[in-house]
């Protein structure tokens, strides 16, 4: 072989992207139109067509169920040269995926089925040991603007309970998204329309033969963006939630999900498949509750034991994603998922003579409440509810180091569906007292040459304390002292902490208190006889929460909290403070700040309080929030001027 040609061939291979695809005038038109609307995107769906046909079948234990068969077509066009993406489709034991095919345009500008098969791999979330979620996907490369490919696939939901939500948006812009539900007239479904406001979604319902046909369509749907600190898409984007309410099979009437009662009955049906053997738990319950006499003390002992001794390792294969592991297995294994932990805790509490019940709940990722939506997508978590003197306590075994009586932010204000045999209770988990989630930092400094010396003390309560424990208790014990020093340096590299002291960090019920002597260097600038001191040495700027111009989602802080700082600087009697910074006070429903410098003789005190009382900044408030951040930043940029008297 001619060596030079060989090398050139290698060069060719290096850049080989020879297109086997073609495009039509329609593709070009669609691509041009979408490029004008979405100039930053590299590809778009010119068409998404989803059709779901409902029918009847047999489900778990031979029970009658409604089934759903989906046929979907997606056509993609490149909006720029060199567009790479993956087209993927998830499936699991409740929804099978068939005929997932890839089509390209041939030389006659027709779509031709490619002979390649999709790749297939597990799609288990991080933190789950095993589940049945898998994904099939194609890697796609579109070389030229206007190039088009098509995908088609069929889905079969063997039980319509697991067919819940349909979104109009996708990870890419969609020029035309059509959804069609074909429902036999002997079946009654409910379609809940969520977040439709502000979107021009066309909808219709017609009778076609023996079917009722529901249609929805949206044009020019913007893509989902992966944004940090975002709540779930269900808060922001339009979607429909589909529930089969009832159907008849001959003369037999079958009930689907018409109310929260039906949802509960299904959960409870699965829960009853869990064959607990409480006898095996007795020794450990006796041991854990030894010496405890009040219901609260017994409950606390059991709650903390489960938090501390059961690791989160989840097996969620098929119905195992819905039926809890038995309490005896969880106890033996010392690991499980939320259902298993809740089940064990419930059984242990019962054995201790307490009134405990398994409970289904949706975390804050899910915006719906029981009663307003009757579909499985409302719940994604399981806890235990304990009644003491009629008051419900919500115990979440997966929430490590949380004190008894406090609820994790992720379940606060959410509805909890509590097992009560043939009936159920519905409660709303109370939100935390906003003032309770606080980090209070007090620093007392004096000027020593060019160094600020003194003490710092940090007190954490509520969720701030729990967050601290959740991190601290999982770092290697031989690094914990170092961690405390790092924590007390408050993110300031120039702070040197000596002799740190802590509260009892084995006790999750009391506030976490850390304090130590500090030397703070490089905070004083000397110009002649004047000094400029930065006593606001650990400002919280929240810069990572600055909204970008096209941000789609609200900001989620994962907690509602308050930071309170008090910093005091003393100077020699021969000196005085000049140019005292102006105070700042801002109040809005979702964010507040107050900060002021006060001088008394040779002492200046900076007091700051910042609160995010709802843990959420809404998109409609982004302008005010941006202004808040700017003002906060400007306040944080103040130095204290010191000069001779």
């Amino acid at each position: 072989m001619n060596l030079s040609l060989k090398t050139a061939a290698t060069l060719a291979a290096f850049f080989s992207c020879i297109s086997v695809f073609g495009q039509t005038d329609d593709d070009f038109y669609a691509a041009g139109d979408m490029r004008r609307k979405f100039p930053d995107e590299r590809y778009a769906a010119s068409e998404v067509y989803e059709e779901y046909r409902f029918d009847k079948g047999k489900g778990l234990d031979g029970l009658p169920v409604a089934t759903v068969e989906g046929n979907t077509r997606n056509v993609f066009v490149a909006l720029k040269d060199l567009a790479y993406f993956q087209f993927y489709q998830f499936y699991n034991k409740f929804v099978s995926l068939k005929n997932f095919n890839y089509y390209y345009r041939n030389s006659r500008e027709q779509f031709k089925k490619a002979s390649i098969k999709p790749l297939d791999q597990a799609a288990t979330d991080d933190g789950i040991f095993l589940d049945d979620n898998r994904v099939k996907f194609y890697n796609v490369r579109l070389n030229e603007f206007g190039e088009a490919v098509k995908f088609e696939f069929n889905e079969l939901y063997a039980d319509s309970k697991y067919f819940t939500r349909l979104y109009f948006n996708g990870p890419y812009p969609i020029k035309d998204h059509q959804i069609k539900l074909i429902v036999p007239q002997w079946m009654d479904i409910e379609v809940k329309e969520m977040n439709f406001e502000g979107y021009k979604i066309q909808k219709g319902k017609t009778a076609e033969g023996k079917n009722n046909v529901y249609t929805y369509s949206l044009q020019n749907a913007e893509p989902f963006k992966g944004e940090p600190n975002a709540l779930g898409y269900a808060y922001t984007f339009p979607h429909i939630i589909v529930s089969v309410k009832s159907w008849t099979d001959g003369t037999q009437a079958n009930k689907g999900f018409q109310s929260v009662d039906d949802l509960y009955n299904w959960y409870n049906y699965l829960y009853k498949k869990c064959q607990n053997n409480p006898e095996t738990l007795k020794p450990v319950v006796t041991q854990v509750t030894a010496g405890k006499t009040t219901p609260e003390d017994k409950a606390k002992a059991i709650y903390y034991w489960v938090q501390d001794n059961i690791r989160y390792i989840a097996f969620e294969d098929g119905y195992a994603g819905f039926i809890p592991e038995t309490a005896q297995d969880v106890l033996k294994n010392k690991y499980s998922d939320c259902k298993g932990m809740a089940n064990l805790m419930t059984e242990m509490l019962k054995l201790a003579g307490l009134d405990a019940h398994l409970t289904w709940i949706g975390t804050k990722h899910i915006p719906y409440k029981h009663g307003e939506v009757n579909a499985l997508c409302i719940d994604n978590h399981c806890i235990s509810t304990l009644y003491i003197k009629g008051k419900p306590y919500f115990l979440d075994g997966t929430e490590k180091y949380i004190p008894f009586g406090e609820n994790a932010y992720r379940i606060q204000s959410k509805t909890a569906l509590v097992e009560k045999g043939v009936s159920h209770d519905l409660h709303t988990v109370p939100p935390a007292d906003k003032a309770a989630n606080k980090q209070f930092t007090k620093a007392t400094l004096s000027l020593s040459g060019n160094t600020l010396k003194g003490k710092v003390k940090v007190t954490m309560t509520g969720e701030e304390r729990t967050d601290f424990h959740q991190y601290y208790q999982t770092i290697p014990s031989d690094r914990q002292k170092e961690f405390i020093k790092d924590f007390l340096s408050l993110g300031n590299d120039n702070l040197d902490v000596k002799t740190p002291v802590t509260s009892n960090l084995k006790n999750r019920d009391i506030p976490v208190v850390l304090d130590g002597d500090i030397d703070l260097s490089n905070q004083v600038t000397t110009v002649g006889k004047e000094l400029f001191a930065s006593i606001d040495f650990f400002p919280k700027t929240l810069q990572s929460f600055t909204p970008k111009p096209n941000r789609q989602n609200d900001f989620d802080f994962s907690s509602a909290y308050t930071f309170e700082d008090e910093i005091e600087l003393s100077i020699p009697a021969t000196m005085k403070f000049v140019d005292i910074p102006e105070p700042l006070k801002i109040e809005a429903p979702d964010f507040t700040f107050s900060g002021a410098y006060t001088v008394t003789a040779n002492k200046i005190v900076l007091k700051k309080t910042m609160s995010i009382p709802t843990g959420r900044i809404r998109k409609k408030d982004f302008a005010a929030w941006g202004d808040f951040l700017t003002k906060l930043r400007n306040f944080n940029r103040n130095l204290v001027s010191i000069s001779p008297k």
Binding site: L3, S4, T7, A12, S16, A123, N309, N380, P476, N634
Partner: protein
């Protein structure tokens, strides 16, 4: 319960299994247990204790004992027709007993991984509770690992080869304070295609992530398998345990504290470490292999042995692979009409054409292949040159080389050294790992010999790095507008060049760096045009991605990058005549300004970013210091003084700390409406004794404190 998900980034390269959620059958589990039973239940005294030494109770975990055994045996299956099937059968076993003292350690060992590829593999274990009660692992819950890159190194065998199938199992009943005792048996085999086979060398540091009471290797070898091993820095030695049909060697280490992190430590050369390699050879003391006589535990080679072996190794480089490479290079030389030109030009062309051929063929050339090809080209042109070897000084000293893979081959020509090229290197570059090394000059002949030599060190100037920054303050936004011109030389360039050339279009233009010719011209026109169009698209895409990439890089240096405006590559540093990497960036930075009344304090010195800060325990030094190479970094910052302001506070910016280890010198002055800050930080020596650490801290501290200073802008 199931959390919904919508976005998943997928890797197309992952292995996948069509059968999902695969679990092992009962008979497979029984076999796994049975195959490891005798090893796990071995009454080895070190595994019988459950007590850890006083003083280690506060640690995260303590390894009570761990033992790794390896058994190598050649097997030949004779065939009536055709070649015999020859292979080395390897059985590796490992048992680890570890006390888990906290949640972190429990999390780390919450799931165990094991290899089920071979039917004779084994795995089992148990949890020993504080009261001595034992709980067996529940292997019924083991599931297949779909992506082998998920398997932590701790659970991979040293001798594994080929594709593997792993399972993972959650450890049942595990709580802090428990002892986990588990073991695996992994069988591997390696097909023998030659008369020898070298297994991957093992570099084993005695300090482990957890303090260790006892650690042991036991290696059992058949007659044709050889052990080479060396222990350094106080590590115990391998000893011969048995001789006969099989030779057994043992290595044991006791009561070793856990590994501690420290800056500037050349771990392989300073910390206690043992290294070994297993080599199969049908011939003892084979000339081209680093082995001894049959049954001999080889730890050292005499200079004569080195000479002979290096000579034999060089002779075996006359391979079809190397000669094909040589032929490609010669083709280019001939086409360029480069034979017969001046020696210096010829040397240059040879180097860059080898680099070009490797680049275009996506070859990472070995130092041996490079040296062979390069010397052959010199021989063709009758330019005298020598083959030399050294060893990477972050791996081993040349005197401690006992594996062939530790050798770095190079060529000395016209009193200069030519090391193996990479995609970014230039002729006569001295890689960091060679500087100041001992080397051997290989004198080829009937019996090759070696002559020791010392390689030069790069100078401070050779590795210079210079920033010239023009900065101005936008008084409205209080952001800093910066234009930064950067120039990197020598080893400083080597560190930065991959970042700087990311998304740059240097591959199709590589031929220009040595005055070659465009190979695309040799292609038929339609093909060439198509490729040129494609290259043009990649170039355009690169232009889009480059600023995004550089902005991310910049964010590592400065806390608040407001905007990244432009990147300009001025000189790509891949050229003999212009080996410096030069580029310029425009960007806007925030958070540089503080207020004091109407005055502004601006952190201009922090433009000299990333100054090392040494705090706490690191201020006392346990080990000698290795900063890899001498260098000087220079910052010239020209800050335009905003109209209506005076600059004050320059006194603190004047520094001069200069000692034998290095220096930090800075000046600040007003020149024509600009504040001019010039700072240089110099690492004078690559390797410094730990006793000089206080001297080094003086200028490291000075540089850090300088970077924290502010200047005062006072309203006129």
């Amino acid at each position: 319960m199931k959390l919904s998900r919508f976005i998943l980034m997928l890797s197309a390269t992952l292995l996948f299994y069509a059968t999902s959620f695969a679990q092992l059958k009962e008979e497979q589990l029984n076999k796994l247990r049975l195959n490891v039973q005798s090893f796990l239940e071995d009454k080895d005294a070190d595994f019988t204790t459950n007590t850890i030494p006083t003083g280690w109770e506060e640690q995260s975990a303590v390894i009570i004992a761990q033992k790794t055994t390896m058994f190598f045996d050649q097997k030949t299956s004779f065939r009536l027709f055709g070649k015999s099937d020859r292979k080395v059968i390897i059985m590796e076993k490992e048992r680890r007993k570890i006390k888990l003292l906290d949640n972190s350690a429990v999390d780390a060992f919450s799931e165990l991984y094991f290899d089920v590829t071979d039917t004779e593999n084994g795995f089992d274990g148990k949890v020993i509770k504080a009261d001595g009660k034992e709980e067996k692992l529940d292997l019924n819950r083991a599931i297949v690992v779909e992506d082998n890159s998920d398997v932590p190194g701790l659970f991979r065998s040293y001798t594994q080869s080929g594709s593997k199938r792993y399972f993972k199992v959650p450890v049942n009943g595990l709580q802090p304070g428990d002892i986990l005792d588990y073991a695996y048996v992994a069988n591997n085999e390696a097909a023998l295609r030659d008369n020898y086979m070298e297994f991957v060398p093992v570099y084993y540091q005695c300090h482990r992530p957890y303090s260790t009471m006892k650690q042991e290797f036991e290696i059992k070898l058949d007659r044709n398998t050889f052990l080479c091993s060396k222990s350094m820095n106080g590590a115990p030695e391998f000893v011969e345990k048995e001789q006969g049909e099989f030779n057994v060697y043992s290595w044991q280490d006791r009561n070793r504290e856990k590994l501690k992190d420290q800056n500037f430590v050349n771990e392989y050369l300073l910390l206690p470490m043992m290294k070994f390699q297993i080599v199969f050879s049908s011939k003892e003391n084979a000339g081209n292999l680093f082995i001894g006589n049959r049954g001999e535990l080889k730890s050292n080679f005499t200079p004569e042995e080195y000479g002979k072996k290096l000579g034999t190794m060089y002779a075996t480089m006359n391979s079809s692979y190397n000669n094909a490479l040589l032929a490609q290079v010669k083709y280019h030389l001939k086409k360029m009409d480069a034979f017969g030109i001046k020696d210096d030009e010829f040397i240059k062309n040879c180097y860059y054409i080898i680099r070009h051929v490797c680049l275009m063929n996506d070859i990472e050339i070995s130092s041996g292949s490079f040296a062979y090809v390069f010397k052959k080209l010199m021989d063709d042109q009758k330019i005298p040159c020598n083959i030399m070897v050294t060893a990477a000084n972050n791996l081993t000293a040349l005197k401690d080389v006992i594996f062939r893979s530790e050798l770095e081959w190079f060529v000395k020509v016209k009193d200069k050294y030519v090391f193996v090229c990479n995609n970014m290197s230039n002729l006569y570059d001295m890689p960091t790992y060679t500087q100041g090394n001992t080397a051997y000059n290989l004198v080829l002949g009937k019996t090759a010999t070696i002559e020791p030599a010392t390689l030069p060190m790069a100078t401070i100037q050779d590795n210079g790095l210079e920033y010239v920054m023009e900065a101005s303050l936008d008084l409205t936004t209080e952001n800093l507008n910066v234009t930064s011109n950067q120039e990197y030389k020598g080893n400083s360039r080597d560190r930065q060049i991959y970042t700087a050339l990311m998304y740059e279009n240097y591959v199709p233009l590589d031929w220009k760096t040595y005055g070659g010719y465009d190979e695309l011209d040799e292609l038929p026109e339609p093909r060439r045009d198509a490729l040129n169009e494609r290259i043009s698209k990649y170039k355009k895409e690169g232009q889009r991605l480059k600023p995004l990439y550089m902005e991310k890089e910049l964010k590592r240096e400065y806390p608040e990058v407001i905007k990244y405006n432009a990147f300009r590559l001025l000189q790509d540093g891949r050229n003999f005549k212009k080996p410096e990497l030069k580029y310029s960036e425009d960007y806007q930075l925030g958070d540089f300004v503080r207020h004091a009344g109407k005055s502004l304090l601006v952190s201009i010195p922090s433009l000299a970013s990333h100054q090392l800060q040494i705090k706490g325990d690191e201020r006392t030094r346990q080990y000698d210091i290795d900063v890899r190479y001498a260098r000087q970094v220079k910052w010239t910052i020209n800050f335009a003084i905003p109209t209506g302001y005076n600059v004050l506070g320059l006194e603190d910016l004047q520094n001069k700390i200069d000692n034998e280890t290095g220096s930090f010198i800075s000046t600040a002055s007003i020149q024509g409406g600009k504040l001019v800050i010039v700072a240089t930080k110099t690492y004078k020596q690559p390797r410094i004794g730990k006793g000089s650490w206080p001297s080094m801290l003086q200028w490291i501290d000075a540089a850090y404190n300088f970077s924290q200073k502010k200047i005062l802008l006072r309203k006129i």
